[in-house]
């Protein structure tokens, strides 16, 4: 028996629906169809009246979740693709985001954001928008990379009293597996994790590039280079402490994301380490991102658009030669 990342997301939603009568799911094609990626498969049948198809109205989907949360509900909104959240942008950043600060009343909604690239998905079904939303006050931004995190962070997202944007990576849906789902766990949003300990250089990443980083680390190990890989897990808040601790041990930082380069997670991480951990650094902190263009459709272009394992390894070798 094994569980995929996608199944973990479905299982977390089923558990939340089962244990809390105030949880419901709202989104396009989530009911009978079970969602474009089948992440709500069977849930409408198992929880009648609590998994509802919405019109193609991202603004109103989020707005309605805000209203329902004020009535004590714990709505889960599924965006069909994170890219379409652009149409719900105002409700997310301006309505949900500032609710607590402006009114003193919290707005516990969870928005599921199927994110990231797949070959052939193109400019409008591939985006990594975590950095855009993280810029706004009041939104918690989760970016699980592992099956376990997909499960526990989603449960935590639903439990948290603030709006949470849950960036699940589509490329991982059926590609990563775990033996089984954790039964005992404590919530840990906002905490990064040393995914792979190492001595020589710290790679900070999350989502799909975590795996590319691990693959590069495995390659470099053969050359005697020991890489520590930190999985951010939550990009807002960022766990600066864990990052600094790692950099203190290695003296080198490379931050990697599939998102666009201007002002995203990698800029934030590098800026923090440069400010707070300047004296820990033995070489300039570096970052890698996808190219500053729309995500291209053709699989070959797509591969060249984002940081590859080879490019990561090359960058690390250069950094350590410095």
């Amino acid at each position: 028996m094994s569980v995929t990342y996608l199944e973990a997301i479905r299982a977390a939603q089923a558990k939340a629906l089962r244990e809390n009568p105030n949880v419901y799911i709202y989104g396009q094609d989530v009911a009978t169809y079970g969602g474009a990626f089948k992440s709500t498969k069977n849930l409408a049948k198992d929880f009648p009246g609590r998994v509802l198809d919405s019109p193609i109205s991202e603004d109103a989907m989020v707005g309605s979740a805000i209203g329902a949360s004020l009535e004590g509900m714990r709505p889960i909104v599924e965006m069909q693709f994170a890219d379409f959240s652009a149409n719900g942008f105002n409700q997310i950043v301006n309505h949900a985001g500032g609710y607590f600060y402006r009114t003193g009343v919290s707005c516990p909604i969870t928005i599921r954001m199927p994110s990231g690239g797949n070959p052939g998905s193109g400019p409008f079904h591939s985006q990594c928008l975590e950095s855009v939303y993280a810029h706004f006050p009041g939104l918690i931004i989760m970016t699980p990379a592992t099956v376990e995190d997909a499960y526990t962070l989603l449960l935590e997202a639903i439990a948290i009293d603030d709006p949470v944007l849950f960036f699940e990576h589509k490329f991982l849906y059926n590609r990563v597996k775990a033996e089984k789902l954790p039964e005992h766990f404590s919530f840990s949003a906002g905490k990064a994790r040393i995914h792979r300990p190492g001595r020589d250089l710290t790679v900070v990443s999350y989502g799909v590039t975590l795996y590319d980083s691990l693959a590069a680390a495995a390659e470099l190990e053969k050359e005697g280079i020991s890489i520590e890989v930190v999985d951010l897990r939550t990009v807002k808040p960022i766990d600066t402490e864990t990052i600094l601790h790692s950099v203190a041990n290695t003296g080198h930082l490379l931050c990697i994301s599939e998102g666009w380069p201007w002002g995203g997670v990698t800029a934030e991480v590098v800026a923090r380490v440069a400010s707070k951990g300047f004296h820990l650094l033995d070489s300039p902190p570096e970052r890698m991102n996808s190219r500053d263009t729309p995500v291209p459709y053709h699989p070959d272009l797509w591969l060249a658009h984002k940081p590859s394992i080879g490019a990561i390894a090359k960058k690390i070798r250069e950094m350590l030669d410095w």
Partner: protein
């Protein structure tokens, strides 16, 4: 003129109507009074930021507000002072918010029309027009999921706000879900300086009701009697399971868009047209005609409203402003605070 897509049951002046009318009129007076005061404070430089008043729209607003019961949901817009008061918002909230007091519902973090009491189901608006429609709809969905019955929600929008995508998505969703939502479209002929003909091309905004599959009414927003009748009818229909109700009320904004705007671009003839009347004057005459009040009674009510406002204002003015040093710069209600950003 009552012009609905489905004919409402005849709304004769029913038992209790006089009482309701008088009560509504008093809220209108109070709303006008407190707004006149806020305008004066603004001109005296005592109110920071914009100052958006509801002069001329009190009848429409109060009619909806007064029909709501405790437990119902209200999502008021810019010019809904009268409806807010009728639904139960304390005068204190208004003045504390306009004066930015720490004691107010937003603690000075937001101002003027952005106040509310979510726990008591008065939803604070964000500025982005149309955004509240789906929020109120979602609250009603939640009530239904929770097994509640006998509740309605009301919210409003201006002629300009109907051009927003948010409005469309929210109202369509309410129609699909057949929610007990009463939506008032207050057509005051202008959105800021933009006249109706640059905003929409249909004859009457109530023509949109059929396209959403909801019941719609078009009414004279300057006549409190008609406003109360239509609002009573719409709220009752919504409460009884007939789905969303759309009320389109015609009137004229009796000031500029805000206190900084003299409204000089407005068609002068509008004010001489029937919908250019001051709803408070219309109601005043009606009360006297009906013999429900004489001049001196109305005069007394006005005085009471003035005294109430003055009294609350005196107290609020002595209340403290927010203290930056004590401010909790944290937008999260959960334990998750980023130490790097909260410093």
């Amino acid at each position: 003129m009552l012009n609905s897509l489905r004919e409402p049951e005849s709304e004769a002046v029913h038992l209790g109507f006089q009482e309701q009318y008088v009560s509504a009129f008093k809220w209108m007076l109070l709303a006008r009074t407190v707004e006149d005061k806020i305008g004066a404070l603004w001109r005296a430089g005592k109110v920071a930021g914009g100052c958006y008043l509801g002069r001329g729209q009190e009848a429409i607003s109060v009619a909806v507000g007064i029909m709501l019961k405790p437990g119902d949901t209200f999502g008021p817009l810019i010019r809904d002072q009268a409806g807010r008061l009728a639904f139960g918002e304390p005068l204190f909230d208004i003045l504390r918010t306009y004066l930015g007091k720490k004691t107010g519902p937003t603690k000075g973090r937001d101002g003027n029309v952005h106040r509310g009491r979510p726990r008591e189901r008065i939803y604070p608006m964000i500025s982005h027009l149309g955004a509240l429609v789906s929020v109120v709809a979602g609250a009603l969905m939640a009530r239904r999921m929770q097994g509640d019955t006998n509740f309605v929600g009301a919210t409003s929008i201006g002629d300009g706000g109907t051009s927003t995508g948010s409005f469309h998505e929210g109202f369509n969703m309410a129609a699909v879900e057949r929610l007990p939502l009463v939506l008032t479209v207050t057509n005051n002929q202008y959105a800021y300086s933009t006249p109706n003909e640059r905003q929409f091309a249909c004859h009457d905004l109530v023509d949109r009701a059929i396209g959403y599959g909801v019941e719609g009414y078009s009414m004279d927003g300057t006549d409190l009697k008609e406003c109360l009748e239509v609002a009573a009818h719409a709220v009752r229909r919504a409460r009884s399971g007939f789905g969303p109700q759309m009320i389109v009320a015609s009137c004229v904004r009796l000031s500029g868009h805000a206190e900084h705007d003299d409204g000089s671009y407005m068609e002068k003839t509008l004010l001489e047209s029937p919908i250019g009347r001051d709803c408070i004057k219309v109601a005043h005459s009606f009360l006297v005609e009906q013999g429900w009040a004489d001049e001196s009674t109305v005069q007394e009510w006005r005085l009471n409203a003035k005294m109430d406002v003055e009294d609350v204002l005196q107290r609020v003015q002595r209340e403290p402003a927010p203290v930056p040093e004590e401010e909790d710069w944290n937008a999260f209600s959960s334990h998750l605070i980023d130490p790097d950003l909260s410093a």
